[in-house]
Amino acid sequence: MSFAAGERVRVRAMFPLGHVRTPFYARGKSGIVERVVGRFDNPEQLAYGRSGDKKTLYRVRFEQSDIFPETPSAHDTIDIEIFEHWLEKA
């Protein structure tokens, strides 16, 4: 699945054992694609000594208050780089 800048996406709430680069705090949260970064080797394969398949990397912008509602910081945001296979349409 591919996404465009400005599109609303949700981070899949997945909890695999193993090396991933999707922060726990973002799982299941939704935000807006800030930019499409490009195609990069999948770190989940590189970590196990394999040359990674290319995956599209996105920067997703989250409202700080959507992720940490207990400490809302008005209009502050958190931008995270997230690979395509962790994202779904929101």
Partner: protein, 210 residues
């Protein structure tokens, strides 16, 4: 054996200098690993020294040079915002495979950089990250309560300013372009660069006031 005392940038108090206190298991492991790899001809002993010297050349002053140039040269600033690594090369600095991404502070937006998963940092530009950047409190809290964390660095931002935290979770490395202080209108790049601190380029501070 290794001479901690004759090394200009190493802090003699940071860890046990080997001639005072017996070295730890992990210090010995480092020596053993290095010597084994040299014996196996994977690299030479002088390559290790060379890598240390290259690392010491990567200092926050290099980031400050880029920022000062961006302050006086709007066309360079535009190129730097589009491609930070290309802007580094333009100034004769080698980014390697680092994709430097520059985030510009404005009166409305303040950017701050973290790596919650490890310690990703624009090392090819500025060298190794400071200890606090790698620490649990910074990594844990700057995403959850950025204003409280910035206050611990002495930075109080007005409620109206939006804070954008950037979590370096994958392939990009970030540099904050701080705002140019007022009262520096006719300053040279060299003079301006002295106002640009490492912390202002990570976003836990603003540039020094003149």
């Amino acid at each position: 054996m290794s001479a901690t005392h004759d090394h200009p940038h190493a802090d003699p108090h940071a860890h046990h200098p080997e001639h005072h206190v017996p070295s730890t298991y992990y210090e010995k492991l480092t020596t053993a690993l290095m010597e084994l790899l040299v014996e196996k001809k994977l690299f030479k002993a002088e390559d290790v020294q060379g890598a240390i010297e290259r690392m010491e050349e990567r200092r926050p002053e290099r980031g400050a040079r880029m920022v000062a140039k961006a302050w006086v040269d709007p066309a360079f600033k535009q190129r730097m915002l589009e491609d930070g690594s290309a802007a580094m090369r333009e100034l004769g600095m080698e980014p390697g495979d680092m994709l430097l991404t520059v985030m510009e502070n404005t009166p409305q937006v303040h950017n701050v950089i973290v790596c919650t998963l490890c310690s990703c940092y624009p090392r090819m530009l500025m060298g190794p990250p400071p200890a606090w950047y790698k620490s649990r409190p910074y990594r844990a809290r700057v995403v959850r309560e950025p204003r409280a964390v910035l206050a611990e660095f002495g930075l109080q931002l007005p409620e109206g300013v939006t804070i954008r935290v950037h979590d370096s979770s994958a392939d990009l490395r970030y540099l904050v372009l701080p705002m140019r202080p007022t009262g520096t209108e006719r300053w040279s790049e060299e003079r301006l660069a002295a106002l640009v601190t490492r912390d202002s380029m990570v976003g836990v501070a603003v540039a020094r006031m003149p």
